[in-house]
């Protein structure tokens, strides 16, 4: 079978210095992220392979959403015959400009994908204004 992949094979982006800096050393990576906006919410999808739901730490404060996923080492001390990627924690932070209802933020993590639902605050939702005749 021929090598044939139309999936983007970009390597994981290693973070040299995460901001804010992390206290724990070791390798950190930027998870690949999709952000989608609907009428009611912003939905964020982040790829964090190797992280269990309990390993994910999500923090939202004053418009900044920070996500950190710890990945327990799986191949420590192994002698690789082939090594094409490295293991490490994931870290990324976003400034969210839309006004978000922080009390209703929810998240789930399945198959190494973290999904964060950021519901828009009532005031920020689009409203249809009825124009009345005189």
């Amino acid at each position: 079978m021929a090598e044939n992949s139309n999936v983007n094979a970009a390597t994981k982006g290693r973070i040299e210095t995460a901001r804010p800096e992390l206290t724990r050393g070791g390798l950190h990576f930027t998870p690949r992220v999709d952000i989608f906006e609907t009428e009611n919410e912003l939905t964020l999808f982040a790829e964090v392979p190797g992280a269990r739901p309990e390993d994910v730490d999500l923090h939202y404060e004053q418009g900044e959403l920070a996500l950190r996923a710890r990945v327990s080492p799986r191949t420590e001390g192994k002698r690789f015959l082939l090594q094409e990627y490295e293991e490490g924690d994931f870290f990324r932070a976003f400034n969210i400009h839309e006004s978000i209802d922080a009390s209703r933020i929810s998240a789930e993590c399945k198959n190494g994908v973290l999904i964060v639902h950021l519901p828009k605050a009532e005031a920020a939702k689009p409203r249809q204004i009825t124009v009345k005749g005189a």
Binding site: M1, S5, L42, E47, Q83, V113
Partner: protein, 146 residues
């Protein structure tokens, strides 16, 4: 070297060294002298006793969208399709994940037993364990004295 004394006292020299180090690292990224990539998905392979371990990061992949074949004794093929669920109406702010079909074939260092392949997909990480084929196991040859 005359520079060695400077190294200790001049913060500027240290900064320059640091800067150069960072530039080199950046360059390594572009020229690909970091971990080499042979296709999608990227793989890690290691050996433990009589078995080979192959690992790949495949976040969001469903088991039903993945096929694993062992052919010719030492060829491992991963075939799959990454699908991303897209909400019906709205707008993308950022799109970094990619979807599509992939096929990757890896030649293993020795024949493996096609009947004893164990594959697990856990938290978006695929782990395949392959056992060395009987025929490929090292045999101790008894040397007889005449």
């Amino acid at each position: 070297m005359t520079g060695s004394r400077w190294q200790q006292y001049s913060p500027l020299w240290n900064q320059l060294q640091q800067f150069q180090g960072e530039m080199n690292r950046l360059f390594d990224h572009w020229t690909g002298s970091g971990p080499s990539v042979g296709g999608y998905p990227t793989l890690n392979v290691w050996e433990e006793g009589e078995s080979l371990h192959v690992e790949a990061e495949l976040p969001g992949l469903d088991l039903k969208d993945l096929e694993i074949y062992v052919t010719g004794g030492n060829e491992l093929t991963l075939k799959g399709r990454r699908q991303l669920s897209t909400p019906a109406q709205g707008a993308w702010h950022r799109r970094e994940r990619s979807a599509g079909e992939f096929v990757r074939t890896l030649t293993l260092p020795y024949p493996v037993d096609a009947e004893k392949v164990d594959a697990r997909l856990e938290n978006g990480v695929l782990h395949i364990t392959l056992a060395r084929h009987e025929s490929a196991k090292p045999r101790k040859i008894a040397v007889k004295a005449e």
